[in-house]
Structures are given as C-alpha cells and as structure tokens.
Assembly symmetry: C2
DNA sequence: TTGTATGCGTTATCAC
DNA sequence: GTGATAACGCATACAA
C-alpha cells in the first residue's frame, strides 16, 4: 500500500490544489501565508506522513543547522560533560551535533576536519589532539568564514573564539595551597606540553614555587598521558626514589593520574597527606571517592560546552558583535579536600 | 581574490575540458575512468581547492553515510565508552555519527527521532529513555526500512537488532555470590523497571534468592535514578532502619549508586563487607577506587558500541543475512573484589 | 572510456 | 497571498 517513494511538498501541493512554493512557505510558518492555508498545509502534511528532507533544504538554503564537534577522545568524564552541555545548548536552538574523535592522532584530526567541511557544518567546535602542530587543516573553514570555536585544548588564531579556564592561575593557586600546607619538595605530574592547558598548569606550578622560594626539581617533573596506568607508574617511580629524594606533595594535571598514583603509594604503606600531599585537576567523580578525598580544581565541562555552542550560534545568527569574542575564560575553583590537609611536621 | 562561490565538479570539468560526469566518476575512483584522467581530476581538484558537497551527493544518491545515535544521556562512563566505540567503528567504515540525548525524556526522544529521520540517517542506534513506553516515534524508520539497532535499553521489535548483555544471568550470578559469602538479608538498589535492563537485573536477583531459599524483602527494594544522590539517600534509608532490619548485603544496579551508598554507610561507622557486603554493575572507574574495591559486573561499553555499529553497517551494505540478527548478547563477567569478601560470621 | 541529459526535494526570485 | 520557475551540486541512465 505505501509507495516507497518519498513524500514531498509537491504531494502536499497536489493534494491541496496549491503550489509547492506555498507549501514550502506554509511549513515554515511564514506569515505571508494566510493562517487558514497554513493550517491546511500542516494537516495535509500530517495526513500524508510528510517528513521534510533536510539536505534538499540545505542544498538550496546553504545552511545545515549542524555543528561539527571534534574532540581528542569521547570517553573521559570531562569530555562527555562538555558534549552533554553542547548537545543541550545546540538542540535548544535547533542545531544538531556531528561528533568525531581524533584519538589524539593529528592525521585523523585532519581527515575529520575535512569530513566536517564536506558535510558543510555551519560551525566547528574543536579541542585539539595532543600532537596537532598547526591549523592548516582548518584553512577551508577560515577561508569560507565558517566560525570555529576552540575549547579546552585551544590554539591561538585570529578568527576564532577560545573557551578556556585560567589554567595558569588555577595551578598557581593549587601549588600555593600545597606549599601553605607545608610541602617543600613538590612534584608535578603533567600532560603533553604541546597543549596550552598542560603547559600553563606547569607554568603556574613553577611560578608558585619561585614566588615561595622553592626549587623546581627536574627529577620530580613527569610528563605522561595522565591515564590510570600513568598514575600507577608514577607511584612506582616515587617509591623507587631514595626516601630523602621523594616529594612531600604532588600536583597532578588531572584527577585520574592523581588518584591512581595515590592508590599505588597507599598500597606501599605511604600515608596521604602526611607523607605526601596530593592535588589534582577536574573534580572528576573519583576525586570524591578516593580516600582521602582529593583536593582538586573544579570547573564545569557542561558550562564549557554550553558556552562554546551559545557563542557559536549567536555568531551564526549575527547576534554577536561584528568580530567574534577572542577568548572567554570560565570560572574555576579550588576545592580543598583531605588529600592536601597535611599534618604539620614541625611540632 | 577568492570568490565566495563554491567550487564544484563543473569547475573542475571546465578547467580540464571534460564533462562533469567524468569528474564525478573520477573523484570516486571509478575504474571505468582511465587512470590518467583520474589523476588529472584529482590534481585539478586539489589545485582548485575543491571540497565535495556531501548533501548534494546525498540528495541524488539517497544515502548519507551518517548514523543517528539517540541516547538517554551522554555523560555517563558507560555511555561515553559506547559512543567512543561507535565512533571508532563508524569512522573506520566511512560513516559519521550524529548524536542526540533524550535526557530521559520520552518527548524529547520523539523530537530527536524525527530530526534524525529528517536528516535521512542511513541507520539509527538507540538506547531508550527511562519513560519511553512505545516505539511509535520510530515508525517512520520501520516503514522506510531504515535499520534500527537497539543497545542497552532495548525494546523488543521484530525488525530490529538488539545489543545486550545477559542482565538476568549476571544479576543471578552476583546475587548467588553474595549469598555464598554468607548474606541472608539482601537488598536491591534498582533502576526504573520500565527498562528491561533494570527489570532483568531485579529478576535475576529475585530468582537467586528463591533458589537459595531466601526471602525477597519488599522493604529492602529501592528503585531510584541510580545517581550519586540516590546512593547517599539509600545509605540514610539503611541507617534509619532498626539494626535488626538492616540488610547484610546489597546488590546495586550500577556502581555509582553502590559507591555512594557505601560512602554514606562508612561515614556512619558501618564496616564493609563485614556489616554489609556490596556489589555493583558496570565496572565503572570508581569501583576500583572506593575502599574496599567494589565487586561488580564488567562488560565493555566500547564493544557494545562497535558491535552495534558493525552490525548496522554490514546490514546497510547487504553483507548480513536477509533479515537482521534479532539479538546479540555480549559477554559480561563478574569481578569479585573486597566489597563482597564478607567475613564468616558463624565462627 | 567519456559525454548528455535529467532529476533528487527544496527554497529563492520574481511575477502576479 | 500565492504561483511559476530556476537553481543548489551531484550522480546516474542512457547514448556514443
């Protein structure tokens, strides 16, 4: 009974004895069309089971109401919060998300960017892979003035907006806090320095040391992927150090590496924070579960996501200024928990 | 200098003095076209900065190489693993993902399904919202024979494949394990029974009780959203019970609720597993962090994702059988950890 | 191996 | 308010 042919506005037009143009307008609630015909059109559409064809529309109207999202990995707590925020904000405004991950591989990022362009996304949201070195793969976007918004793993570029937090300041604050708790030999478990986020966390750490006249000890600076295994490895590294060379406080660039380092040390009988204090970054759910609870930096992935999308869409709609805002710095907050409440050792 | 007009196959054709049809074929490496012209076309494309327009192509060829993904929430550890797996499998086969979340709201799910259809996704991957009651919103897909694959939160339907694990069996095993550890008053912290996953976990729990001649105690059956707060609430509920009425073992439908219930009880001085043993579900990262580590059921979200996508795509490509496989049950495994290693109380 | 002609479903433009 | 028509960029049936 049901033809396999697609039902089009022409079918509705024929059904009602009006033109396809009118149907097209009516379906979009164009006020030019009389209220009564609009109603007739809507009814006929429902009756015939009409479902608009988005890309026929896109082809003609030149916009897709689709945003491309390019992330290093989908499956981290932070990133999935960001995506949740993005999806929420986008769908509220009638936009869809097409999502791809680079898996920290710059080549894959290049391919994905090209796919996004071919799908003619109205805008691109991107957090760079660990080893992306330039933005050549985004040139098509820049040339065609398709707005690009960076978030988290950003890269300075004139024509874009970046959504970030003050990584430097937060790291400075965390480190100063550890120092105030009595730490004198501080360690840093950091991420890839090619990415600003991790570089700035390192720099904030270093500056805090300097301001408090403490040394930056190369031996106590480890760069890793910040994974669970990296945390376990770091614990082993610490345990292998002569006791006198061990750190008495560790600032980690994320919570995962912090927690699994703590677990490794605890298993070896070290006390936290008495022997070694800890602080992480992200306020991941595990930070509230590990014992002692992990001091960390809280900032909302969801807000990062909604902010990025809102900014992009308002730019698309021409609501924003002529030029895009260049940088949006979101709030972050130091959350002090037991892992850094070091007992005073000088009594 | 750069026109704002899009560069099309016609531009390439003109540039080379050949027909657009040849260009179209050449770009897709059609072997009909001589190797030399193919090379010329590729070169010209690069030179002119050509970028194919996916939906002009889709309009004509009637497939989009895009899969729709509809999930209750993006930001859970399990779901983001699933999505990561899906994206990996899809991109490997040249497909893209367009992702939306229902936020556990059936109405939003209806809207999203319609959007997906309007975007003419080649297939749909869906995990149902907590309160979805029927599949009417998927009728357009069924009618047009657009393949739909359910995963996790599934719903039986003739024309679809479901990717699941044996929730009943896993729950039965977990519960039996708790009983073997000496638990006699078992509690269940479950999810919405409208969803098979949670219903089956309950049923496996109940059957294990029955088989071991233990009672199912209504008072010790709580249904919740399985959130952190739900865990905290459950702890309070348990603490408010007269000591003699408290459970000596708890089986939770996910790890989040388990862990936060444990934390609440520990804060009140209860010992785990001595006073109350615990088991969860999902093998979430927190299960390896909480003390004692949480006994749980492990199954890979990533495998769920890749399986769902592979199955869908092989169906699209006509590689699979004439009819879709109806149900695929993936492996799950009981992971015994300290939270259920109850001391024997009968010595 | 290549070219011609047409249509996919919609919207923009211009006319009435 | 509504209609006729062209155009969006590409792929395909058919012809050569």
């Amino acid at each position: 009974m049901s033809e396999d042919r697609e039902i089009t506005i022409y079918d509705i037009a024929k059904h009602l004895g009006i033109s396809a143009a009118t149907v097209s307008r009516g379906l979009k609630n164009n006020t030019m069309i009389s209220k009564s015909t609009r109603k007739k059109i809507a009814d006929a559409a429902k009756e015939l089971g009409y479902q608009s064809n988005t890309f026929a529309s896109s082809l003609r109207s030149k916009n897709t109401h689709t945003l491309g999202v390019l992330v290093p990995r989908l499956n981290s707590h932070f990133m999935s919060s960001v995506l949740a925020g993005m999806e929420k904000a986008a769908s509220k405004q009638g936009y869809n998300l097409i999502i791809a991950q680079s898996l920290e591989d710059a080549d894959r990022e290049v391919v994905n960017a090209s796919t996004m362009f071919n799908k003619r996304v109205d805008g691109l949201l991107i957090s760079l892979s660990a080893n992306t070195e330039n933005l050549n793969h985004l040139d098509s976007f820049f040339k065609r003035k398709i707005p690009v918004v960076f978030f988290d793993r950003v890269h300075p570029h004139a024509d874009t907006t970046s959504i970030i937090i003050d990584n430097y300041g937060a790291a400075y604050k965390v480190t100063s806090h550890l120092i105030q708790q009595g730490c004198k030999r501080l360690m840093h478990l950091g991420g890839n320095l090619l990415r600003d986020v991790y570089r700035q966390r390192l720099e904030g750490f270093q500056q805090a040391l300097k301001d408090h006249h403490l040394p930056f000890i190369e031996e106590l600076h480890i760069i890793s992927t910040l994974s669970e295994d990296a945390g376990t490895d770091a614990a082993r590294y610490i345990l292998d150090l002569p006791v006198s060379k061990r750190p008495d406080g560790v600032f980690c660039a994320n919570d995962t590496v912090a927690v699994h380092c703590m677990i490794g040390l605890k298993a070896a009988g070290l006390r936290i924070p008495e022997d070694i204090a800890f602080a992480g970054f992200n306020n991941d759910p595990i930070s509230k579960v590990v014992e002692p609870n992990l001091t960390t930096v809280d900032y909302s992935g969801e807000v990062v996501g909604t902010t990025a999308v809102s900014n992009l869409i308002s730019h698309l709609k021409g609501i924003s200024d002529l030029y895009m805002t260049n940088q949006i710095t979101l709030r972050s907050e130091l959350i002090v928990r037991a892992s850094s409440a070091k007992m005073r050792t000088d009594i």
